[in-house]
């Protein structure tokens, strides 16, 4: 006779966790409209965190690099996008969806371009001398983070900056008793597109095959004739660009940003990467959605526990699965 874990494994295994969490919250919350609003908010938050965390997970998994400076890309992404949106304020506030969209596209492209360039610089100048040395990696990336925050302070100042949202993303859609913010739907959709893109690249292309193999055994990939150091640069650049896009989306979500944004998000990003399992995009998505849903449900049900909710979630998951929900095979 099959036991329960085998049946659950066949039905989806750890992927059922967010469903279980949502069902449990439905029972506890009682009000379907509130539950639906919280669930959508949790999913969109999860997708934005996924954007920020996916690069870190790949960088950690493939390159074995503890990059505490990852949050600098989040902060810079947010500030660069905010600056572009501010410069294009005429388009942002226009009644034309086309002009709104163009402002958003330029803001995201600026964040991506910055992330790619900064990622290349960071890997070449800061990370490369400290490969295989975790202690020095922590020290130098923490140092780089402090320098980055000071650069943001010097360029944008210490006072909070208001982020303009493109007009077509303002407001909400009302579905019965449920109010759904358009921006959250957009954030969810963008995160989903990024996930599908990453998934296809990792699972349907030769580059993706190399990245997945490199996460498991770098030395063997080189022994097969591939220069993994070149792959490292590419992964680092893409990971940094994803963080910058995540930062840009988060800036629009918060609408008021400070130079501490990246540092504040970094704790959540690390929790997601640890919960999901290092080096796995599917695990990162799962971890991000769990974190997003938990933060919203707990914030509603037990506001005093909201700050600790993700730490509690991480503790429970690590006690159950010390390597995370879906780590890459090592």
């Amino acid at each position: 006779m099959e036991n329960l874990s085998q049946i659950l494994g066949r039905l989806g295994g750890v992927y059922l966790l967010p469903v279980g969490l949502a069902l449990g919250a439905f029972v506890l919350i009682g009000a379907p409209a509130s539950w639906a609003t919280l669930t959508i908010a949790g999913l969109s938050m999860g997708m934005m965190v996924f954007l920020m965390a996916s690069g870190l997970s790949l960088i950690f998994g493939l390159m074995d690099v503890l990059n505490f400076g990852h949050s600098a890309f989040i902060s810079f992404g947010a500030f660069v996008a905010a600056t572009v949106l501010s410069a294009l304020s005429g388009w942002v506030g226009a009644d034309s969806v086309f002009l709104n969209s163009m402002a958003l596209v330029f803001a995201l492209l600026a964040a991506i371009s910055f992330g790619l360039a900064a990622g290349w610089f960071f890997e070449s100048v800061i990370i490369r001398p400290v490969y295989h040395d975790h202690l020095r990696q922590i020290l130098i990336t923490m140092g780089a983070l402090i320098v980055s925050e000071q650069i943001i302070l010097a360029l944008w100042g210490g006072t909070p900056i208001t982020v303009l949202r493109p007009h077509f993303l303002e407001g909400a859609i009302i579905l019965g008793n449920v109010s759904v913010e358009i921006y959250r739907l957009f954030a969810f959709a963008l995160g989903l597109v990024a996930f599908i893109g990453l998934y296809l690249v990792l699972n349907r292309s030769r580059i993706g095959l190399l990245v997945r193999a490199g996460v498991e055994n770098r030395e063997m990939v080189e022994a097969l004739g591939f220069r993994i150091d070149r792959l490292f640069i590419g992964v680092f650049m893409v990971g940094s660009a994803l963080a910058a896009v995540g930062g840009a989306m988060w800036a629009g979500y918060e609408t008021l940003i400070t130079p501490a944004l990246g540092g504040e998000m970094m704790i959540v990003v690390f929790i997601v990467v640890i919960i999901g399992g290092l080096g796995s995009i599917e695990g990162t998505l799962l971890g991000a959605i769990m974190v997003g849903l938990t933060a919203n449900y707990v914030g509603f049900l037990a506001p005093k526990l909201a700050l600790a909710s993700n730490m509690i979630l991480m503790t429970i998951i690590l006690l159950w699965r010390p390597n995370g929900l879906r780590p890459a095979v090592k």
Partner: protein
């Protein structure tokens, strides 16, 4: 004709000197076996050839070209395949993905693939399975298949029979005989009976130096030498 030459190869791992000056010529064709006690430096020799550890000083010459100090990937692209002691398969990838990763252009040469199926039928059977789910013998077959999925002049194989069932060891010996018809195998092996059954030439490494080199037939006949160099009883 010499395919690979090691000249006074010295390799340090951290603060430990492991190879103290290995000098060896590996002729083209057949199976060349490196024998030696545990910790003698056999694996270090293979890893130094692959550039995974840098020999300093000393040189490695392959097909007449100096490959000392080249990046591991560049050494591999010169036609040297490596099957490490831990097999180095990618457990999260399927059998097919493990093999396709080792192809030059991302697609299989069908006659070559058929030859691999003939050598290792289990691989065809478990083609779409993730490699971590294979048995130890099947993983070893996959590791060897990956080394021959493209034509390679030299295949370095580190202790392929370790922990394998006798029936798999026999199949592996048969496969190596066939592979050595078209490529040279440099094999590190502790199982002397296995080595004797397939080796044409051999060398014994002891304490980071070549203590003896010659033909396997001569060495197999000299029990006193075996006892002295490998502590084997007749």
């Amino acid at each position: 004709m010499t395919l690979l030459s090691l000249n006074n190869m010295k390799t340090d791992i951290g603060q430990y000197a492991v190879l103290h000056g290995v000098t060896l010529d590996v002729p083209e064709g057949g199976v060349f076996v490196l024998l030696g006690r545990n910790g003698a430096g056999k694996t270090t020799t293979l890893r130094s050839i692959m550039g995974l550890w840098s020999p300093t000083p000393g040189s490695v010459t392959f097909r007449g070209a100096d490959i000392t100090g080249l990046h591991t990937a560049d050494i591999a692209r010169k036609g040297i395949a490596y099957v490490p002691e831990n097999m180095g398969i990618f457990g999260g990838l399927t059998v097919e993905e493990n093999l396709i990763l080792a192809t030059d252009k991302g697609r299989f040469d069908q006659p070559r693939l058929k030859r691999i199926y003939a050598l290792f039928p289990a691989l065809e059977q478990f083609w779409t399975k993730q490699a971590w789910s294979l048995s130890g013998g099947q993983k070893q077959m996959l590791a060897v298949a990956r080394a021959i999925i493209e034509p390679r002049a030299l295949i370095l194989i580190d202790e392929p029979t370790k922990g394998l069932a006798p029936s798999i060891v026999a199949a592996m010996a048969e496969a190596f005989r066939e592979i050595s018809q078209s490529a040279t195998i440099l094999l590190v092996e502790q199982n002397f009976h296995f080595a004797k059954s397939i080796g044409r030439d051999m060398a014994v490494i002891d304490d980071g130096l070549v203590a003896h080199a010659g033909t396997m037939a001569d060495f197999a006949a000299d029990t006193e030498l075996q006892e002295r160099l490998l502590s084997l009883s007749a």
